[in-house]
Amino acid sequence: MTRTFLLLLAAWAAACPLHAAEEHIFISGGPALRYFERHKVNTHDVFWGNFIQAALVRHKQIAPSIPPGARFTWMVFRPGYERRTPEAQFDLLAEVEKRIAPTGASVVWFSHRDELIDYLNRGQDRKVLKIARVEYFGHSNKRNWMFDYSSRLDGAVADFGCLHVRDLPKIRKDVFTPGAYARSWGCHSGEEYSGAWQKSTGVPMVGAIGKTDYSNGGIPFLSTPGGRWTQ
């Protein structure tokens, strides 16, 4: 009896990997089409890669704090880059993969918010591999992450191309590590989205009060006077 118990205990302990069993996830929304934006006073996404480049800079910043062996996954909203490709006149899907490759991240393309939710919930064996970090780079307002902003619809978003606060309860709470970190680099997330995220997932989310700006090519910065980050 004792021997069986000890063998089972040994098998369990051996199954525990020596490296950190956790996943770090970046999510990049897509760029707007210049076809829609070029006439506007406050035009968006002159550069197609705002939400890739900013995340690359952020990766450099956090890389030292990611434990060795942790999985790093980069989810990218595919239709945004497909639709911008004719304007760019080169293959943006290939370009995105090329730029992400040096980070060692696994690129996961998604085309629908349900694919994103599904990946968070069961894209990996969540009993073994929990999510330790989620960071979002893209268009947003206080209630919505808008991956598809002004790409299919002028100044608006297809419903499948966004993750609204009403969708957040679909994300399971038990997929995150106890000390998981979440952050939205989009505009206004701290005004409502962060709270809704924490309520649904149990994970606090850092978000902006006010607008953020990606235009310097680096980490997005607060562009509203008096703006701040909140959790």
Binding site: W12, R34, H139, L153, D154, V157, P178, S215, N216
Partner: protein, 232 residues
């Protein structure tokens, strides 16, 4: 030592070692970036050439030539280039016209399912206008966004120097309602989407006395002032 005791001891030690590593969530988060943090690390990877400024007054391009400069701009445009977020339909004033533009009276596929559409430009409200079936009263019209395909299936306004210049024009629209809805970011509401295939101009008309939808929780003040990336 018996073999199973040895294996147990080794496995137990391995488990003890793994546990604290796995628990190392990113607690030691680097400090929040300063407003202009790390710009130097950003753009070096992308050698694309610069594109013309978006706010430059243009000469009139033909609709088919809606695409901008052949290459994409560099990743670090001037700070003003991607400036204040605003989900607004407000457009630049029309450019000076070096030559008169010919606005077609019809475009695309003009057979099949038809609707009557009234173009309505509403500041800080995304969408195209109202559509209804031919014999229906305007009171039954619905507010729609239009799904276009640049260069192929285009809204009538794309043929004007600015896409808002056909405000209060009515059209016979060819196409169908899409199987998804569009999200209006200023008022946090989901509205219908019309997949346009073609259109014919009917002419200017008075705007129907209708109001576009809003979410139950939204109001003009709340969402216009605090909501979706609006410039004050």
């Amino acid at each position: 030592m018996k073999p199973f005791l040895l294996s147990f001891t080794l496995a137990f030690l391995a488990g003890m070692l793994a546990a604290p590593l796995a628990a190392q969530a990113p607690e030691n988060e680097p400090p929040l970036p300063a407003p202009s943090a790390a710009p130097s690390a950003a753009p070096s990877a992308a050698p694309e050439s610069a594109a013309p400024s978006e706010t430059t007054v243009e000469t009139q391009p033909a609709p088919a030539a809606e695409a901008e400069a052949p290459s994409e701009p560099a990743p670090a445009p001037a700070p003003s280039a991607d400036e204040p977020e605003e989900f607004s339909q407000k457009t630049l004033p029309p450019p000076p016209s070096p030559k008169p533009r010919v606005i077609p009276s019809r475009h695309g596929q003009t057979t099949g399912e038809t609707w009557i559409g009234h173009r309505a430009v509403i500041e800080r409200y995304a969408g195209w206008g109202w559509i209804k079936k031919e014999r229906e009263p305007w009171s039954r019209a619905r507010w729609v966004m239009i799904e276009e395909e640049p260069g192929q299936r285009m809204a009538p306004g794309r043929f004007h120097p600015r896409p808002t210049l056909d405000d209060n024009t009515q059209y016979r629209l060819y196409g169908s309602l899409a199987d998804y809805q569009g999200y209006e970011p200023n008022f946090d509401v989901f509205v219908d989407v019309f997949r346009i295939e073609g259109w014919e101009t009917l002419g200017p008309a008075e705007r129907p006395a209708l109001k576009p939808p809003r979410s139950a929780s939204s109001s003009q003040g709340r969402w216009a002032e605090r909501g979706a990336n609006l410039r004050r």
